[in-house]
Amino acid sequence: MSGAGRTERAGLPGAAALVWSASLPAAGALSVATAWGGWRMPLLVVAAVVVPFALLVTVVRLGVGRWAATAALTALLVLVAYVLGAGAGTTFVGTVGDAVPLLLTEPQPLALRADLLVAPVLACGLVGIAVGLRSVRPTRLAPLVGGLVLYAAGAFLTGGRGDRVGVVAALLLVLAVLGWCLLDETGEPRRRRLVLAGPVLVVAVGVVASTALVPVSGAFDPRSVVEPPIVRTDVSSPLPQLAAWAANPDVELFTTAGDTGPTRLVVLDEYDGTQWRAATRYGPFGATADDVLPAGEQRRRSTMAVRVAELGGSWLPAPGTPTGVSGTEALVDPRTGTLLEPAGAADAEYEVTAEVDDPDPARLPGATLPDPSADLPLERYLELPDVPTDLWVYAGQVTAGATTPYQRAVAVEDAVRGQRRVAERAISGSALWRVEDFLLGEVGTAGAQEGTSEQFATAFALVARYAGLPTRLVVGFEPGDEQPDGTRVVRGEHALAWPEVYFDRLGWVAFSPTPDADLGGERPDAPLDPPTTPPPAPTPSADPSPDQVDDHAADDAGGSTLPPRTGAFAAGALLLAVPLGLLLARALRSWGHRRRGARGAWAEVLDALVLAGRPAPRSTPAPVVGDGVAMRYGAPAATRLARAADRAAFAPGSTGAGAPTTEDRRAVREVRRAVRRSVPWWRRAWWYLDPRVLRRR
């Protein structure tokens, strides 16, 4: 082999470096795959990265020019994408050109459809080729950049939900730091480099985790600028159906498995004095809306398998606000979480994952309403038509004794329930006149003091709205009858309408004005007297502030309750505390040295040597160390400091205490500067946080 050949081969990265280079973009690609879910897409995107990368590296090693190989592989990749797109029945240009809006508006998790796969496969392949092209660079930045590009693409695609707890981000960081430590061609032993990398990694992960501290309520969501495909439905309320279900109590509507709580069918939030209306616009999962109220701080995740029987209609039952559904092409109303199957709910079988506001009952008595300055879209939930005067008077009487929002809600609930009775064949309807009859009619007249859950819930909503409580109506079902196999059969008798009131930081809280209705959950007794301690002032923030630690969620972290962002916040704060603690410990150590005169000044020199990775052996006397430092780092002051320290320590009548002289301080600075200059930049950056000196006694 010629000398030139040897030089060229020496310039090529080793196998470990190649594996590392490919692993970073592959890890980033995993973020893209989260938009699809399942196990096939991760394999596909990893292959899309690794195969072009490996091909490029191989052909370059075989002697093909790098740019020629890159061009050929890029053409091959485009050809593969073309063939893939051709199967979808669209043009290649059209598929690629529409890729972004298509991916951003399709329901997630995305389907493994050819038109949805072309763009990610092409992007992953191009990144793999680009990283392979730059893998010979000694800076080793290209793999990380490639990984970050794909990670960002994945985050863009999923709105940040794909890597919610930062697992892929942490993987990228760990891989990058390990690679830089182990593959960097320096004379330092690998073990030592790894030890040094530990604190760096902790800080880096801390920085990632500290993003939990950043308010994200205004985070950019690409779906807010892309109009998702909207499906409209004409049926605006299932309330009329309640009477039919009540009339056929034994009809099996659907079967559930999993969560044992009540299921929701439709959320009704608009009332015009005649009827309640549900959303009529539905989009894919991931679509956003401007008028969504913030969820409560304490939520639990609920998963339920549903098999529809005689339910009818197009709405699908779900245990809360759905976050994902499998087994059906359902759409969702992003404002209320109502689930819609455009093709009809009949015989649908699906598994739905949802989040349910699950506030700690102990927090309910102190619940407050959102601060008006928070400018939340509450108008819809407070809107009242021209209510008859009698109703006004009634509502005023009902809430007269209550002082807190929760007391008002409970007072309304108790008043509406009153002595009224449920009558399955009562006059249906939610119009004002019907509610007026229901609440204020003379016993014995038609519809007076009796009704279905529709009237109870509507009456509650009207009075509560009059009392200033943001209220909506939910049509759903009580938990069905449990079967021996653990499933629950929901029948017509379980259909129910109930009101929900929105409280600040607690989210939507269900109330049960209908007698004998079973919505599950715990409810505290609401004291009629004002609480001895005033409820906490509402925070003008739509999102929980970082210092609002959620004890309840933390307690239930091991269960099904969702830790909101408190866990991430705590982790971030903890990891931020590590570098801050190190900084403080180092400052205290230096402060202690400054109080010890020449001996402390010498200790600073010894610390500097530790930080430079060349600690002085404890068996070596100070003057010898000082001479060595003076020679190695060109800092003659070290010799003088060593002798001064010896004198302070061992001369008669010297305690070594007291502030160091100006000359000592200047000498320490000179030595420290000289030693610090000798270390690589990354160690200089880490200089004031490096904890190794803390171990030196």
């Binding site: 068996s619 006397p621 004198r647 061992f650 008669p652 070594g656």
Partner: protein, 335 residues
């Protein structure tokens, strides 16, 4: 210094000031320069010998012939301004040849004492291991007692009294090895060794002053050196350093390869040397580096290894060095 009723100045326990040390350093410097004018390129050994002279100890030089042992002894004696006598130790040398004897003086008709060569400031005991044990013991006794007793009469040797003994480590046929216990009488053991290339060429150069003892200037008086030695006995040694010295001694004694380590007297000798050595460096206090510098010449010859260790190729010097590596010195940044 404090003045006594007799008008003589005696050092008080806390009287070693920086000025005193500076004065001694100048004296030591002068002596060293003077000796080095005849013994080129061996300043470290010269300084050690001078430390022993001031500390009131004796030096054992182990070296092959022709390295300048005699020249060194003579130059030291001359620089000190004292008298120097040389005794060539042979198997037939008698103790009285060393210490002196009583003889009948026919002129005066009286028996009088004729002093031996030990009655001088510097005694060069050349090839001490060639004399019989009895003769060696006679010299070693004088070294320890600084007196000679002949016919019931005790006579003191001059002060300062420095014995520089030599022995050839390679030609051991017909020699009488010094008893280990008596090696303790030597304050330190060292060797001159061959000079480095530069100095050896310098010695070879025609007209070189090397070896010309007669040209060594007299830069001090024996009384001056003796007074300095007495004064420096009060030089400060910090407690951590005394503990360090003891830990070294204990570590040597407890080393499994060692049959006999330095005694308390040996460690005390080390402290004595440390005081003088520190002053020679211009310090009125001792530092750990001094201990490490002097541990080998002071302790190695007091370290007797087991037979197994010797057969395994270990040397006392190695043991001392390993102990120095293992026992951590007090550091100025600690405490």
């Amino acid at each position: 210094m404090t003045a006594t009723a007799e008008g003589r100045a005696h050092p008080s326990p806390t009287s070693v000031s920086e000025a005193d040390v500076a004065e001694f350093r100048r004296l030591h410097q002068r002596l060293g320069d003077a000796v080095e004018s005849a013994v080129h390129g061996k300043r470290a050994v010269v300084d050690l010998v001078l430390v022993a002279a001031v500390a009131g100890g004796h030096v054992l030089l182990e070296d092959v012939p022709g390295t300048g042992k005699t020249t060194l002894a003579r130059a030291v004696a001359r620089a000190l301004g004292g008298e120097m006598r040389r005794v060539q130790f042979t198997p037939d040398l008698l103790p009285s040849d060393v210490t002196g004897t009583t003889v009948f003086d026919p002129a005066s008709g009286q028996v009088r004492f004729r002093p031996g060569p030990v009655f001088s400031h510097v005694v060069l005991a050349d090839e001490i291991n060639r004399a019989a044990a009895k003769t060696q013991s006679a010299l070693l006794e004088v070294m320890e007692e600084h007196t000679v007793t002949v016919d019931g009469s005790t006579r003191a040797v001059p002060d300062p009294f420095l014995v520089i003994a030599t022995q050839n480590p390679i030609d051991l046929d017909g020699t009488y090895r010094l008893p280990e216990a008596q090696l303790d009488r030597f304050l330190l053991r060292t060797s001159l060794g061959y000079p480095d290339a530069e100095h050896e060429i310098d010695v070879l150069r025609p007209g070189s002053t090397a070896g010309r003892v007669a040209d060594v200037p007299v830069v001090a008086s024996p009384g001056e050196v003796a007074a300095a030695g007495r004064q420096l006995a009060y030089l400060h040694v910090a407690d951590p350093l005394l503990r360090y010295v003891r830990e070294i001694g204990v570590a040597i004694r407890t080393d499994p390869r060692v049959r006999l380590g330095a005694s308390t007297r040996g460690l005390r000798s080390l402290v004595r040397c440390l005081q003088v050595y520190a002053a020679s460096q211009g310090r009125h206090y001792v530092v750990p580096h001094d201990v490490q510098r002097l541990a080998e010449p002071v302790l190695a010859h007091r370290t007797v290894l087991t037979r197994d260790a010797l057969l395994a190729g270990h040397r006392p010097v190695d043991v001392v060095h390993e102990v120095l590596d293992g026992v951590l010195p007090p550091q100025p940044d600690q405490g």
